[in-house]
C-alpha cells in the first residue's frame, strides 16, 4: 500500500472570532500541521486547551465545530481527499469509515433509547451489517471491553450504567461499524482514576483486536503514553514535536515537551503537625434532606495551622459534602466542627460574620464561581468592604496588593471574568478568598479543570501564599499527583468514610489498605508499559486470592 490510511498535509484551520465591542476577526486556529497514520497504529495528539488538538482530530472527518473552517491543506483517508467530498460523500465517510468517541459519553447518549439501539445505529444506517450481525458484533465488543453481562448489557438505558461503562459503550459504538479510523477525544478525562485505568485498558485491547487506526486526543501525557505508538505535541495550533512515544517520553527535544513531561514534580516538605489544630471535625455524620443515606459517616479529621490536609477520593466519596458541612451549607446530623477554640454553629445562619470570614472557599469551576457581570475589582473588593469596611482608595489599594500577591498586576482590576484565561480566573478566586484574611481556605478540586502546566502554577502559588499568610488549606482532590505536591497530611475517603488518615509520608507508604492501594496504583505514570504492568499485577493478585 502506497498511501497511508490517514494523511494530513499542511492543514490550516480558521475561525471567525467575535470579540465584544469590536468587528469580527478572522483567526487561525491551526496552521502547518502534517502527519500520517498507518493502519493499526495509534497517534496521540497532546496539548493544552486551545492547542487545537480536537480541531485537528475532527478534521479527519472533514468536520469543523461551530464556525470553524478548514481553509488549507489536504486530508486524505484511504487515498482520497475528503476535504473535496460533497455532503453525500461525507455522510458515507462519517460514522462508517471514520468514527468518533466523545469526552462525555453521558452527554453523547440519548437517555431515552436503549444502549444497543444506539451502538448499532450507525452500522445499520450505513448498511455495513444486518441487524443480527450488528448486534452480535456489539455483544462481542461489549465482552472485549470488559462490560458486565455482554449479552444483556445493550438492553439497558444509559442512566442504568456507570460513567466508565458508558464510556466503554461509546467505544463499542465507534468500533461497531468496523471503521478504519477512530478518533478518541479525551475519552477518559471525565472519569475517576480507578475507572480510567479500566477504560484505558479496554480501549487498548479493543484497538489491538480490531486492528483499527486511532487518533487519541488528550491533555494528559501519562495517559497517551500508555496507548499510542506516536505522539504529536501541539501548542497554539502549531506542531511542537512529533515522534515515537518512547522518544517523546524519554528524550524530549523541545523545551515545551520537557515541561509537559516533568509536570507535577513540585517537591513539598511535609510539616510536623502542631498542637493547635485550626479546624477539628469530630464524629461528623451527614445526609442530604429527604434521603435516608449517610453521605458522610463518622468523619474525624484535623487541619493544623498553616498546613494542608488533602482529602482524596473518587467522585461520590463524600469529599465535597465534607466541605459543605464545614462551611455550614449542610448541617451535620451528628458530630461537631470546632474552629480554633470555638464550636461552629452547624448552620450557615447561626454563624457570626467573623466565623464566616475565617473559613473561605475556592471552587473547582472558576467560571461559575465569579459573577460574570462584576469586574475583578468588585469581586476581590467586596470581601474587603464586607468584612473590613474598606472603601474607595483604601479598598482599591488593597485589591492592587492582592493582585500582586497572585502575580497578576493591577491592569486586571477593571476586567470582567470573561476576559481572563482559566488560570487567571482561578487566581482571582484565590485573591477573593485571601481578601477575607482567613485562617482556613477550602480548595475544592481547584486545579482539576485546568491544564497541567497552569495547574502547576496555581499549586506553586498556593504553596507560596501558605508560607506568607500562614493559612491552612483543606484541599479536596481526586488527583494523587496534586496531593503529593501540596499535602502535609492526607485523608483518603471512600463511600463517606475516612479509610486512611495521617501525615503524608505515613499514608503514602506501605502497608496499604486495599482501597488506597487501588487508588495509588491507578495514577498514570509517565513511563512506557505502565498500564500493562498494573494490569498484570492486578491479575496476579486476584489469581492469588
Amino acid at each position: 500500500m502506497a498511501d497511508p490510511l490517514l494523511k494530513v498535509t499542511d492543514l490550516k484551520i480558521e475561525a471567525t472570532a467575535y470579540p465584544p465591542g469590536e468587528p469580527p476577526q478572522e483567526i487561525t486556529i491551526v496552521e502547518g500541521v502534517s502527519f500520517a497514520l498507518e493502519k493499526g497504529r495509534v497517534l496521540g495528539l497532546i496539548g493544552e486547551s486551545g492547542a487545537g488538538k480536537s480541531t485537528i482530530g475532527l478534521s479527519a472527518m472533514a468536520y469543523g465545530r461551530g464556525g470553524v473552517r478548514i481553509t488549507g491543506g489536504q486530508v486524505t483517508v484511504n487515498g482520497r481527499d475528503i476535504l473535496q467530498l460533497g455532503v453525500r460523500g461525507l455522510r458515507a465517510l462519517r460514522g462508517a469509515e471514520v468514527t468518533y468517541v466523545a469526552q462525555s459519553a453521558a452527554a453523547a447518549f440519548n437517555p431515552a433509547k436503549r444502549i444497543m439501539e444506539q451502538v448499532i445505529e450507525a452500522t445499520l444506517e450505513h448498511g455495513r451489517a444486518s441487524r443480527s450481525e450488528a448486534e452480535a458484533r456489539a455483544v462481542k465488543l461489549f465482552a472485549t471491553l470488559g462490560l458486565p453481562d455482554p449479552d444483556t448489557f445493550g438492553n439497558r438505558y444509559p442512566h442504568q450504567v456507570s460513567g466508565g461503562q458508558l464510556q466503554r459503550a461509546m467505544t463499542a459504538l465507534a468500533l461497531c461499524p468496523l471503521p478504519d479510523l477512530v478518533i478518541f477525544d479525551e475519552p477518559t478525562t471525565a472519569l475517576d482514576v480507578t475507572t480510567q485505568i479500566d477504560v484505558l485498558a479496554a480501549i487498548k485491547d479493543a484497538i489491538r483486536e480490531t486492528g483499527v487506526a486511532a487518533l487519541y486526543i488528550t491533555h494528559d501525557l501519562a495517559v497517551v503514553a500508555q496507548v499510542s505508538d506516536d505522539i504529536m505535541v501541539l501548542k497554539g495550533g502549531h506542531m511542537v514535536e512529533y515522534g515515537t512515544t518512547a522518544q517523546i517520553i524519554t528524550a524530549p527535544r523541545e523545551e515545551y515537551t520537557r515541561a509537559l513531561v516533568s509536570v507535577r514534580s513540585i517537591e513539598h516538605e511535609e510539616k510536623q503537625p502542631s498542637d493547635d489544630p485550626v479546624l477539628r471535625v469530630e464524629h461528623v455524620t451527614a445526609r442530604y434532606r429527604g434521603t435516608d443515606f449517610d453521605v458522610l459517616h463518622d468523619v474525624n479529621v484535623e487541619v493544623h495551622r498553616g498546613q494542608t490536609l488533602a482529602v482524596v477520593g473518587e467522585s461520590g466519596s463524600g469529599k465535597s459534602t465534607l466541605a459543605r458541612v464545614i462551611t455550614g451549607l449542610l448541617p451535620p446530623s451528628e458530630g461537631q466542627i470546632t474552629f480554633a477554640d470555638r464550636t461552629l454553629s452547624p448552620t450557615l445562619s447561626g454563624r457570626s460574620r467573623e466565623d464566616l470570614r475565617e473559613v473561605q472557599m475556592i471552587y473547582q469551576m472558576a467560571d461559575v464561581a465569579m459573577n460574570p457581570r462584576q469586574t475583578v475589582g468588585t469581586i476581590i473588593g467586596r470581601p474587603l468592604e464586607f468584612y473590613f469596611g474598606l472603601k474607595g482608595e483604601a479598598k482599591r489599594a488593597r485589591v492592587a496588593e492582592l493582585l500582586d500577591e497572585i502575580e497578576m498586576g493591577t491592569g486586571f482590576i477593571d476586567r470582567y471574568p470573561a476576559e481572563l484565561s482559566g488560570g487567571q480566573k482561578q487566581r482571582v478566586c484565590i485573591a477573593r478568598a485571601l481578601a477575607a484574611n482567613p485562617r482556613l481556605i477550602i480548595c475544592d478540586e481547584v486545579t482539576s479543570a485546568l491544564d497541567p502546566l497552569v495547574a502547576d502554577g496555581i499549586l506553586k502559588l498556593l504553596l507560596n501564599l501558605q508560607k506568607v499568610e500562614d493559612v491552612a488549606y483543606l484541599f479536596i482532590t481526586h488527583d494523587l499527583a496534586t496531593v503529593r505536591a501540596i499535602a502535609d497530611s492526607i485523608a483518603v475517603m471512600y463511600r463517606g468514610r475516612v479509610v486512611r488518615y495521617g501525615p503524608k509520608s505515613q499514608v503514602l507508604s506501605p502497608p496499604f489498605d486495599d482501597y488506597t492501594d487501588l487508588l495509588l496504583s491507578s495514577v498514570p505514570e509517565m513511563k512506557l508499559g505502565w498500564l500493562e504492568d498494573v494490569i498484570a499485577h492486578r491479575k496476579m493478585e486476584s489469581a492469588g486470592n
Binding site: 469590536e22 454563624r351 472557599m361 471552587y363 460574570p372 457581570r373 467586596r382 470573561a418
Partner: protein, 272 residues
Amino acid sequence: MSRIPISALIGLVFTGAYFLAALFAPFIAPYGMSETVGDVWEPMSRTHLLGTDSIGRDLLTRMIYGGRTTIFIATMATLLSFTTGAVLGFLAAVIGGWVDQALSRFVDLMMAIPSLIFALVVLSVMPVTIPVLIMVMGLLDSTRVYRLARAVAVDINVMDYVEAARLRGEGRGWIIFREILPNALSPLVAEMGLRFIFMVLFVSTLSFLGLGVQPPNADWGGIVKENKEGIVYGISAALVPAFAIATLAISVNLVADWILNRTTSLKGGRGG
C-alpha cells in the same frame, strides 16, 4: 461601541416617533382633542390629514392624543408588572421553601383565570379611572413576569458565585440586586418589550369593550370602537389605530431584540 444594526435603527426611529408624539401631543396636534372640526367621516384632505371621525373630530388629533393615553397606560402598567413580578419572583427563588410554594401556587391560581375576563369583572365593580386601569393591568400581568423571573433566578441561584456570596454572609438584598439581577436582565428586557405590546393590546381591548379609557378621552382602542360602523361604508378610520398598534408592536420588539443581543454579548453573558 458596535454599530446599531439597520433593523434596530428602524425600530428606534418608529418607537422614538411614537413616544415623542405622545409626550408633546398638545404641541403637535393640529386641533383640540374633542373639538368638532368638520363633517362626519370626511375623507383625507389637506386640512384633515387622516380625515375626520364618527362625530366630525380630526382623526390625526385623536390619534396623537389616543397614542399618548395608550402608551402612558401601557408603560406604567409594564413598569408596575415588572417591579412586582421580578421582585417577588427573585424572592421566591432565593428564599425557596414555603414562601416559594405559597407565591407560586397563588400565581398559578391567578393565571388559571383568563386575564381579560378577570379584568372585566374587576373593572365593572371599580370606578374606571386611569390609575385603577394601570393597577389592574399591571398586577394581572405581573403573574407572567413572576414566572419568568423565578425560573431565571432559580437557575442563577445555584451558581457557585451566589453560593460564594452566601458563604460570605451577604444579605438577601445584595444577592437579589447585585448577584442575580444583573445576570437575569437580558431575558427580562426581552420579555419587557413583549409585555409592553401585550399591555397596548390589553388596554385597547378594554377600551374597545367600553371598560377602558372613557370618552371623551381618546385612546387607540376607543378610536376603533367609535369608528367601527364606518368600515361597513368603506371608511378606513377604524383601521388607522390598528395600523398604529401594529407598527408600534413591531418597532418596540426590534429594539428589544437588539438590546437582548447587546446585553448577552456584553462581557460574556450568563454562565459562560
